[in-house]
Symmetry: D2
Subunit: 240 residues, 4 copies
């Protein structure tokens, strides 16, 4: 069995224009929304090779991620109750263990988006260059670390993954891959922060949200299955 998360969530800034899904050979799929409202496709893998294909045209706003610098951190008793869930530790974000370090590093910063920027700066700058260049899974790890610090500081933070076409500075010759970033709750809404790129970006297409990467995986297989290859292709069409 495999679960697949490729369909963009409908509650983000992008809008779907066209989409199509198919498999070779044709396989019936089940669909469901998981605990975090992510759309998941599930299928029983046939013998032999299985090819999954999902194409979509998506419209994104011209404006980059909104600027959260001035958004205030909520006192903990003003955080909406059901969001306290995102201040708790999780499998890959052991915020209870980084509490001391988080307050030492960031306790003096302004309790606002500025504090989250300080977190992202630190996470981004204190990661060895060679790790960054290795790329594979880096955005995931950096997101986990930044989320951990935010929760240690009583800021609700959740893990996000999606597509992020490499359109803007810094120009990046590497092929597009899935990307991971985070959302934090400040003031009265969720804001996007991206510790890997540490910049506001255009063109995010959000697929999944959860406590950490455990909750959202593009592809999860149960039982024996060999992963042969994946091609992710994201291109910008100014005209559309």
């Amino acid at each position: 069995m495999a679960t697949v998360q490729v369909r963009p969530r409908s509650d983000a800034r992008h809008q779907l224009v066209t989409e199509s899904w198919s498999t070779r050979p044709p396989v019936p799929i089940d669909e469901y929304a998981d605990y975090y409202g992510n759309p998941v496709k599930r299928l029983v893998m046939p013998q032999g090779e299985l090819n999954l294909r999902y194409d979509a045209v998506v419209a994104v706003p011209d404006e980059p991620d909104l600027d959260a610098s001035a958004a205030p951190q909520l006192p903990v008793d003003e955080i909406p109750g059901e969001l306290l869930h995102f201040t708790l530790p999780s499998r890959y974000c052991l915020s209870d263990q980084l509490m001391g370090m988080a307050w030492e590093l960031f306790g003096q910063t302004e309790p606002s988006g500025a504090r989250v920027h300080a977190v992202c700066d630190w996470v981004h700058d204190n990661t060895a260059v060679d790790v960054l260049e290795q790329r594979k899974g880096v955005c995931r790890d950096l997101a986990h670390l930044a989320i951990t610090f935010c929760r240690s500081l009583n800021i609700p933070a959740r893990y996000v993954f999606g597509y992020l076409p490499d359109l803007y500075v810094p120009p990046d010759p590497a092929p597009m891959d899935f990307a991971a970033w985070m959302e934090v709750y400040l003031g009265d809404r969720w804001w996007t922060f991206d510790p890997r790129n540490n910049a506001r970006r255009v063109g995010r297409v959000l697929i999944g949200r959860g406590r950490d990467a455990l909750d959202v995986a593009m592809l999860t297989t149960f039982g024996p299955a060999a992963f042969k290859s994946m091609v992710v292709w994201a291109d910008l069409d100014k005209a559309s």
Copy 2:
């Protein structure tokens, strides 16, 4: 603005195999789940003609609708609380007004699926032939009437619409259209009943559920818009 319900629900007996959605000209859409969990697409209609296209290959079980004859009607205090919603009157199913008639007609039947069959038989048989032959909207009205009786009898009943290929007896030369039927709650689950065809059928693809037709419409337009034409096409491919 228009809202469109064409994507099959993921919690019915069918399974999606492939699908594609597009519009001409390309238009960004929003998607959301309504109060009844139906997937809805919403779009702002551009000037001029707008063409919407949705194609899907869907796998359906070989077996017809399950036989609910023996399923017991629940005493009202054993109906799960949140389902009492579907025993209340609604815009097109004024069950408070048909209470007396319902108990007079069906009060002596066995409190089980047999009672619902009696309702469907009565609704089906007491509808003038010419009305049935006119077809347009008939399945909708018959579903509403049967739902109304069921609610009057304290049986949770909801309105369903979807595709229903004309595969089985009686052979029907008329082109396929959207179809409406109902689901009633007996024992510990929902069961399908179809007052229009009054037969268990193969191949239902369920799109929407609600209290009545008000909650589920294939196409709803807000503001000036002229509806030119619709083609619904459903074909059976035994091979898939």
Copy 3:
């Protein structure tokens, strides 16, 4: 069987301080949240007399209902998708039938809270005095009419019932009863309007919300039961 809605909803402006629930004789109850998130208690009525008692101390803000005059009516394509539910007709709010009247009466008003005030003024002023003085169920009917007009005008509107201590002008010697009012969605939130009193008030304790009174009833009995009496008591304690 009976369903009872007396516990205040937790997502309104009041806050619970103490509460207690008991019955005489003691009867086990089931609790569930209905389709609109209202907390419902359900019980099987024993033979003989049954006495239900619910007491609560509730803290309410000193400020009256917020002033919604300047809040803008949303264009229909900007209304959040899942709220379109509250623009549809329902059993007691046949907004499809009052469409013409609504636009004729209120089409020239500013598309904002001012329009809803115009609706409330009209509903309040065009109701014969003797009807108002009869009291029983008046707030319910006036709320239904105002909701109907709002939906005809594409403004999401829902029915609300709760407790409303008679604290402010106009002084009212009549005993406190359950009260019904409405909430409408303008700008980015729901606002309280009260066609019966047609004034911003202090002290609302909100129990239930729904499409109309069908969805929210303090007491609903299924099967034979005689209603003997009800005492609702709401008092203001400035000290708490």
Copy 4:
């Protein structure tokens, strides 16, 4: 700030008869349902001592926990999609790390409730007696370990806490405390297993459910607060 979980959940086998909640001094509370549907009360703690009191009379079935021995383990592709959430590792149940051990220990058992009994037996028997006698938190740790094994074996398992009067064998002179156990999904429903007592018991009153103890805590304080004492009192009244 503190969050408090003491109110029994409404979707378990017990039924509420009476209840009352109060604090000294009186403090307004907010209520919300968390991600797992648990009812939570939240309050800002005043200066000085704060006393919280919750009393309830609850009716429980005479029968002990249902016997799950024969319930079949579902093949992973038949587990309802949204329940896969409870097969994932969480903060205190690192099932990805015990995968090998789990299959080695329990892989040969029958894929049914018998397998879960084998897990509970092992967890119960392999815990040093002195640990069991120390009591404090034992039920919590044993539940976590058994949950971890179940998830390693692809059986959905969730953490549960509540009240469990010590009524039955073995007689236990120690005072009643909160108890933790687990629920696993077999066949088409959740079943109760209790690795601490390793016996089917009468009288469980279920308060909270979640992935592990992180999600459900009777009392959580944010900021400086000293915990003075807690008295949990649960008594059996055969008459009621």
